[in-house]
C-alpha cells in the first residue's frame, strides 16, 4: 500500500491557477466521491486552501493512481490537462509521507510556522471522514500528521516569534513590561499599522486606550472603536506621563516629540519604562530619545529588523523540525510495511509456534514417565491444534486482502496478537491526537 500526493501550491502555481483548482468547502461531497471512484484509489481526501490544493490518496498502484488523480483534477475543473500538469507535483511512498508531514507542520508554508495550515488539513480530514472516503491507512496517517505537527510546535521554536510588524511590537512590549494588563496605550495619529497594533495590544489585555489626532472627530471615532478616550492633539503631551505604550503615525514633517520633552515625562513617571513605537515616515519622535534610560523607541525599520530576525530564527528551527520529520517518516513507513499479507501471516504463525513450544516443554518436563512415542503424539496434537485454529483466519485474511479493506483486517490482527514488525519497533499505537 502506498500513500500518494498530487497537488500544487504557491511554490508551483500562480494564484490564477490556484483559484481555478480550489474546491469550495461547501461542496466537498462530489469531488471526494468522484476521487474515491477512481479505479486505482482505495482511500482519498482533498486539502484545499488559498495557497495549495492537494489530493491525498492510498493506492496499490502508485503510477496509475497518479495519472488518474491528475486527470481527475483537470476534468473536475474543466482545465486542459497539459496546462495543469505544468504546475502539478506528485509524490508516492516515503516521499509522499514526508511531503504531507512537512505541509501539516507548516514547513512548506509561505510563512514558515504559520498556524492555519494544520487547522485546514484537519478540516479537510473532517470532510473526508464525513463522506467516509478515508480508511485504515489515511486515518492513521492523518493522526500521525497531526501529532507530528503538534510535536514540532512544542519541541521547536518554529512558531514562537512574531513575523508581522504589529505583532512584533506586542512581543517587544512583553519583554519590557511584566504584564500588559494595567498598561495604557496611546495612539497618535491614525494609520492602518498603528490601529492593527493597538488591536493586538487590546487583545493582550491592555486596559486603557487614549487616542489623539489633529482632527478631533477622527480621534473620537477611533477612540470609540477601542472603548478608549479621545485626547485633544494640542495638549496630548500633558497626558504622556500616563502612557506606557505609545504608537505614533502622524503625517507631521518634523518630530512631534522631542527627546527633551520625553526626559521630563520620564521624570514625572518616576522612570517607569515607556515603549514608543514610531511607525511614521518621516519619523514623529526624535531618535535621540532612545538614549534615555526609561525610553524604548522603535521605528518602522527597527520593527522590520525584528521581523526579519524572527523569520531567520524560524528557518533555523525548521531544520530541527526536518530531523523530527525524517524519523517520523521512517516510523510510519514501518507501520505501513506491516500491513502486508505474507509477513503478517508469517509473524502470526511464528508467534503461535513459540507459544506451543514453550507450553510443550513445560508440560513434558513434568511427564517423565512418557515414552518417545507418547511424547511425539502429544507434540503432534499440539501442532494440529495450532494449525486448525490458524487455518480459518489465514484463509479469511487472504480472501479479504483482495478487497480494499484488507488493510483493516491486517491491522486488527497485528494489534490483537501484538505482532512485532520485523527489525523495527512497533510503537504506532500511541499516536492519537
Amino acid at each position: 500500500m502506498n500513500i500518494i500526493v498530487v497537488g500544487l501550491s504557491h511554490k508551483t502555481a500562480p494564484v490564477e491557477i490556484r483559484e481555478k483548482v480550489a474546491f469550495p468547502p461547501t461542496e466537498m461531497e462530489a469531488p471526494l466521491m468522484k476521487m474515491l471512484a477512481l479505479p486505482a484509489i482505495s482511500e482519498g481526501m482533498i486539502v484545499s486552501t488559498c495557497n495549495r490544493v492537494e489530493l491525498y490518496a492510498v493506492s496499490r498502484q502508485p503510477e496509475a493512481a497518479i495519472l488518474e488523480l491528475k486527470s481527475f483534477l483537470a476534468d473536475f475543473h474543466a482545465l486542459p490537462e497539459a496546462v495543469l500538469n505544468e504546475h502539478l507535483y506528485d509524490r508516492s511512498g516515503d516521499d509522499a509521507i514526508h511531503h504531507v508531514l512537512r505541509v501539516a507542520s507548516s514547513l512548506d508554508s509561505m510563512v514558515i510556522g504559520e498556524p492555519q495550515i494544520l487547522g485546514q488539513i484537519k478540516t479537510a480530514y473532517g470532510y473526508a471522514c464525513e463522506f467516509k472516503t478515508t480508511g485504515t491507512i489515511l486515518n492513521r496517517f492523518m493522526h500521525k500528521a497531526f501529532s507530528v505537527a503538534k510535536r514540532i510546535r512544542t519541541e521547536t521554536a518554529i512558531a514562537s516569534s512574531a513575523v508581522s510588524v504589529s505583532f512584533a511590537a506586542v512581543e517587544l512590549a512583553r519583554k519590557i513590561f511584566d504584564s500588559l494588563e494595567n498598561k495604557t496605550v496611546m495612539l497618535v495619529g491614525a494609520g492602518e499599522m498603528c490601529e492593527l497594533a493597538a488591536k493586538h495590544f487590546v487583545n493582550q489585555g491592555v486596559s486603557k486606550v487614549l487616542v489623539t489626532n489633529r482632527t478631533f472627530s477622527r480621534a473620537e471615532k477611533l477612540a470609540a472603536e477601542f472603548n478608549g478616550t479621545a485626547v485633544n492633539f494640542d495638549n496630548f503631551r500633558e497626558q504622556l506621563h500616563r502612557v506606557d505604550i505609545l504608537l505614533s503615525s502622524t503625517g507631521a514633517p518634523d518630530y512631534i516629540l522631542s527627546a527633551g520633552k520625553l526626559k521630563e515625562v520620564c521624570k514625572m513617571r518616576r522612570f517607569k519604562p515607556m515603549f514608543l513605537i514610531d511607525i511614521a515616515v518621516p519619523r514623529d519622535i526624535d531618535p535621540a530619545a532612545n538614549k534615555l534610560d526609561c525610553v524604548y523607541l522603535y521605528d518602522v525599520d527597527d520593527l522590520q529588523g525584528v521581523v526579519q530576525a524572527n523569520l531567520k530564527e524560524r528557518h533555523k528551527e525548521a531544520e530541527k523540525a526536518e530531523l523530527i520529520i525524517k524519523g517520523e517518516v521512517a516510523q510510519f513507513r514501518n507501520w505501513l510495511d506491516t500491513l502486508q499479507i505474507k509477513p503478517t501471516i508469517v509473524a502470526l504463525r511464528r508467534q503461535m509456534e513459540q507459544i506451543r513450544q514453550v507450553e510443550m516443554e513445560r508440560t513434558l518436563a513434568n511427564l517423565n514417565h512418557l515414552n518417545d512415542k507418547e511424547r511425539k503424539a502429544i507434540e503432534a496434537m499440539s501442532a494440529a491444534i495450532v494449525n486448525k485454529i490458524l487455518h480459518q483466519p489465514t484463509q479469511k485474511l487472504k480472501q479479504v486482502n483482495q478487497n480494499d479493506d484488507g488493510t483493516l483486517y491486517l491491522d486488527a490482527v497485528r494489534t490483537l496478537f501484538d505482532l512485532p514488525a520485523q527489525d523495527v519497533t512497533h510503537s504506532d499505537a500511541t499516536d492519537s491526537e
Binding site: 511584566d178 518616576r270 517607569k272 525584528v306
Partner: protein, 278 residues
C-alpha cells in the same frame, strides 16, 4: 567521615544536575527541565542540611568556621533563597544563574582543606550561628539581586540596540527582572543589618566591645552603606531599571570583597585561623 563526604557529594551532584537541567532547559527551550531542576535543588539543600547536622554534632558547634564550610553554607543559603524566590516569581531563568553559582561554591569548597576548627571558648555563644545565618542569607539575597541585575543589563542592551541574540527569547521582561532585583534587595538588606547587629552583640560578649574596626567590619559597613543608598534611591528618588541594576552589581562586588577578599588579603579577627583555639 564517610556519611559526611557522601552527603557532600550528593549535594554537589544535585547542584550539578540542577545546573544542567536549568541551562539545557533554557537553551533548548524545554520548560519541563527547569521544573525538574527545582526538585533536584530541593534534594540538594536537604542533603546539605543533613551534612550540616552531622558536622554540628561532630564538631560540637556551628559548622561554619573554615572557608570550606563557609562556601558550602553560602551555596546552601543561595539555593534556599532561590527556591523561595521561585515560589513567588516563577522565574526559572534565575535558576540558570543560582544553580551553577551554587555548584561553583561547592567546587570551591571541595578544593579548600576540610578542617574542623574548634571554636575557642570565648567565641562560643548562641549569637555565632545567628550572626552567620543572617549574614550569609543576606549575602545570598544580594547574590541573586546581582544575577537579576546582570540579566537586566543584557536584556536592556538588546532592547536598546535592537540587536537580538538567542538569549533574548529566554530572558523574562525587564519589569520582572527589576522586581526580582528589588525583592532580593529588600530581603537582603534587613538580613545584612541583622547580621551586623548580631555580630556586634557577639563581639561585645567575646571581647567586651561592640565594634573594633576590624577590616571585615569596616568593609561590611561600607557595603551596608552602599546597599542602604541603593534601597534609598529606589524608594525615594525612583531609581530603577538600568541604574539600579548597575548599582546592585557594583555593591555585590564590594560584598564579594568583604566576604572573600578581606579574609584572604587583609586579615583581622574574622579570618578562619583566628577562630581556632590557640
Amino acid at each position: 567521615m564517610g556519611s559526611l563526604s557522601l552527603l557532600f557529594a550528593v549535594t554537589t551532584l544535585s547542584y550539578l544536575a540542577a545546573s544542567l537541567l536549568y541551562l539545557v532547559g533554557m537553551i533548548g527551550r524545554r520548560p519541563q527541565l527547569p521544573q525538574a531542576g527545582r526538585w533536584v535543588l530541593l534534594i540538594g539543600i536537604i542533603s546539605q542540611a543533613s551534612c550540616f547536622a552531622v558536622r554540628h554534632s561532630s564538631a560540637g558547634g556551628t559548622p561554619v568556621t573554615s572557608l570550606h564550610e563557609s562556601l558550602a553554607f553560602f551555596a546552601w543559603c543561595l539555593i534556599l533563597l532561590f527556591l523561595l524566590l521561585d515560589l513567588r516569581f516563577k522565574l526559572s531563568v534565575m535558576g540558570a544563574f543560582a544553580a551553577p553559582m551554587a555548584l561553583l561554591l561547592m567546587i570551591g569548597s571541595a578544593l579548600c582543606p576540610d578542617v574542623v576548627v574548634q571554636l575557642s571558648p570565648v567565641l562560643k555563644s548562641w549569637l555565632f550561628p545567628v550572626h552567620i545565618t543572617f549574614a550569609f542569607l543576606g549575602n545570598a539575597a544580594f547574590a541573586l539581586s546581582f544575577g537579576a541585575g546582570v540579566m537586566y543589563l543584557i536584556q536592556n542592551r538588546m532592547l536598546k540596540s535592537k540587536r537580538f541574540t538567542g538569549i533574548y527569547q529566554l530572558l523574562p521582561s525587564l519589569d520582572s527582572l527589576d522586581k526580582v532585583n528589588y525583592t532580593c534587595l529588600s530581603v537582603g538588606f534587613p538580613l545584612m543589618t541583622l547580621g551586623i547587629i548580631s555580630g556586634a552583640f557577639w563581639a561585645n560578649i567575646a571581647w567586651g566591645t561592640y565594634w573594633s574596626w576590624d577590616p571585615k567590619e569596616t568593609w561590611a559597613l561600607l557595603t551596608w552603606f552602599l546597599y542602604a543608598a541603593l534601597l534609598h534611591g529606589r524608594l525615594t528618588i525612583g531609581w530603577r531599571g538600568r541604574k539600579a541594576a548597575i548599582f546592585s552589581i557594583i555593591a555585590f562586588m564590594f560584598l564579594l570583597f568583604t566576604f572573600l577578599g578581606v579574609n584572604l588579603l587583609l586579615g583581622g579577627y574574622h579570618t578562619f585561623e583566628s577562630f581556632a583555639v590557640i
